[in-house]
């Protein structure tokens, strides 16, 4: 019994240490700027203030960055999951000449690190005259291989008899997909939706490359720009970081088990 309490205590200490920096971010965000740059640092803001948050919203671009991030995340998630779900269904349930080849192309491409695509993707986006637009930030992510793979894995376990009987009943292929497959798959697709959304919200390198103007940046690249502009304004930087992180925390706590499920899909068989 004592042993168990000891282990829990140890685990709690480790978890707290892991989360301490996040707590520190919030403390700094709610501290008066003048009190932030001092020694020794205060562990609890006394008095707590929201002036940093007010200050940063006056910043020309902060709200724009947040809006951009929302637009990109929702678009990529909506479009990407829709396309991946159809493709995954096709690979899981339909036999047609070449479906093995296509599957192996997808699997093989997952081994390729995305940095090999960065520069040529930029050249492509430039030729399409999409640099510094939402299109450049959305379109490249509508066809990701791992999304299809994840959907295929999940849909393979859906009962084929259901599809067959619907087909015998005269249901069209699209009808089968829309009325039967999609509702059944919502659970599994939620994992993909949540992971895609968070990945897009936190995207950085590509946004850095594909945007020229500051207004088109997402919140991550915007944060970086802000920090480069005002290196020591940590109270503001932390306030902006808190604003950027909170939506993801909310998503995480709402969809916890989907995250944890998503990590294991593909790594462990079944």
């Amino acid at each position: 019994m004592l042993w168990q309490v000891g282990v829990i205590a140890l685990l709690t200490v480790m978890a707290v240490v892991s989360l301490l920096p996040l707590y520190w971010m919030i403390v700094t965000a709610f501290s008066k700027p003048a009190l932030v740059l001092q020694f020794p640092p205060k562990i609890v803001p006394m008095p707590p203030t929201i002036e940093n948050f007010v200050e940063i919203t006056k910043l020309k671009n902060l709200l724009r960055w947040l809006a951009n991030t929302a637009i990109i995340s929702v678009s990529v998630t909506g479009g990407g999951v829709f396309l991946a779900s159809m493709a995954g269904y096709s690979l899981a349930k339909k036999k047609f000449p070449g479906n093995r080849v296509i599957l192996w192309i997808y699997i093989g491409s997952m081994m390729i690190p995305m940095q090999v695509t960065l520069v040529p993707l930029y050249i492509l986006v430039q030729k399409m005259k999409m640099v510094d637009t939402y299109w450049a930030l959305i379109l490249p992510f509508l066809g990701t291989p791992w999304a299809v793979f994840m959907v295929k894995q999940f849909m393979a376990s859906l009962p084929s008899e259901l599809i067959e009987s619907a087909r015998i009943d005269g249901c069209s292929e699209w009808g089968i997909y829309a009325k039967i497959i999609f509702p059944l798959a919502i659970q599994g697709l939620t994992v993909l939706i949540v992971i895609t959304f968070v990945t897009q919200w936190n995207s950085f390198l590509w946004v850095l490359i594909a945007t020229n103007s500051v207004e088109m940046r997402n919140i991550q690249a915007g944060l970086s720009y802000f920090q480069e502009l005002y290196p020591m304004r940590y109270s503001d930087i932390m306030a902006a970081s808190t604003l950027a992180a909170i939506p993801m925390f909310i998503v995480f706590f709402s969809f916890q088990r989907y995250f944890l499920k998503g990590i294991t899909v593909g790594a462990l068989k079944g």
């Binding site: 480790m14 978890a15 892991s18 989360l19 920096p21 520190w24 971010m25 700094t28 020694f39 020794p40 640092p41 396309l83 493709a87 096709s90 339909k94 036999k95 047609f96 081994m111 690190p113 995305m114 940095q115 090999v116 695509t117 960065l118 520069v119 040529p120 930029y122 492509l124 379109l139 490249p140 509508l142 066809g143 990701t144 291989p145 087909r167 292929e173 699209w174 919200w201 936190n202 950085f204 390198l205 490359i209 944060l223 970086s224 920090q227 940590y234 930087i237 932390m238 970081s241 992180a245 993801m248 925390f249 998503v251 995480f252 088990r257 995250f259 944890l260 990590i263 790594a267 462990l268």
Partner: protein, 300 residues
Amino acid sequence: MSSGVSVSSSVLKRASKERAGYLFILPHFIFFTVFFLIPVIWGVYYSFFNYTLFDFEFWGLKGYAKLLKDRYFWIALRNTFYYTAGIVPLWLIKALIISVLLFPFGTRLQTTYKSMFYLPHVSSLVIISMIWLWIYEPQYGLLNAVMKLLHLPTQIWLGNRFLAMPSIIFMQFVMGGGSTIVLVSAALAGIPPSFVEVARIEGANPVQIFFKILLPSIKPIILYLVVMGTINSFQVFTQVYVLTKGGPQFATTTMVYQIYYRAFENFDLGASLAQSVLMMLILVVFAVIQFKWLGGEVEY
């Protein structure tokens, strides 16, 4: 008569099924081809060109030769190895310790702790790096405050050639590894309880159980984590960009940071592409070596 009709209608049905198969996969495949396959092929193709702001001519392997003679390339490679060799084992050890500690407890409690360890992953690398930029701040940052309190000499964590990379690794170690923990935990849960029971009955102590039963049983997942961990860690960029911009004196310049820098600050696209192709080859070699070394009889 009727059999003739039914044969042709089932052929038609099969054809429409097949056509549906193509149609369903087509939109995704188009985006995939345009925005992934074609760029990859272009990338490899243009890597054989002298491709800068002013030049565009084929020069075969000259670009690769030039890159391999560039000492900064080797510095970046070394730094990336340093980072990867640091964080992959550290995360594995952290995950093993935490998973084993969590193992005897109920699902509710396990999920709570796993979530706590995973939470930092959900806030972006940019945000985490910003927080640690602040923690590592020489004059007012939290870490040096703690050092002062402990009567230890304060350091310029990110400005010191020898401390910069360890500082980045330390940050990753403290905040990260959440998904590694979830995977190791899941693997441990998959071990048949009888294995452990039999060992316990035969008088094995916890340490023996850990090394002789638990570890070997989760070998496949450890192999997976080492391979994927290497591939992912090799691509480190954001932390370097936010914390040190590759410095001080190139001490933290990593492969991807240099690939980015060559393309978008030096405008030497050919060299950047050659480096990314080389990086891909290195990762393939690594994966093969790791499979052989750790793989053994693992069927994956």
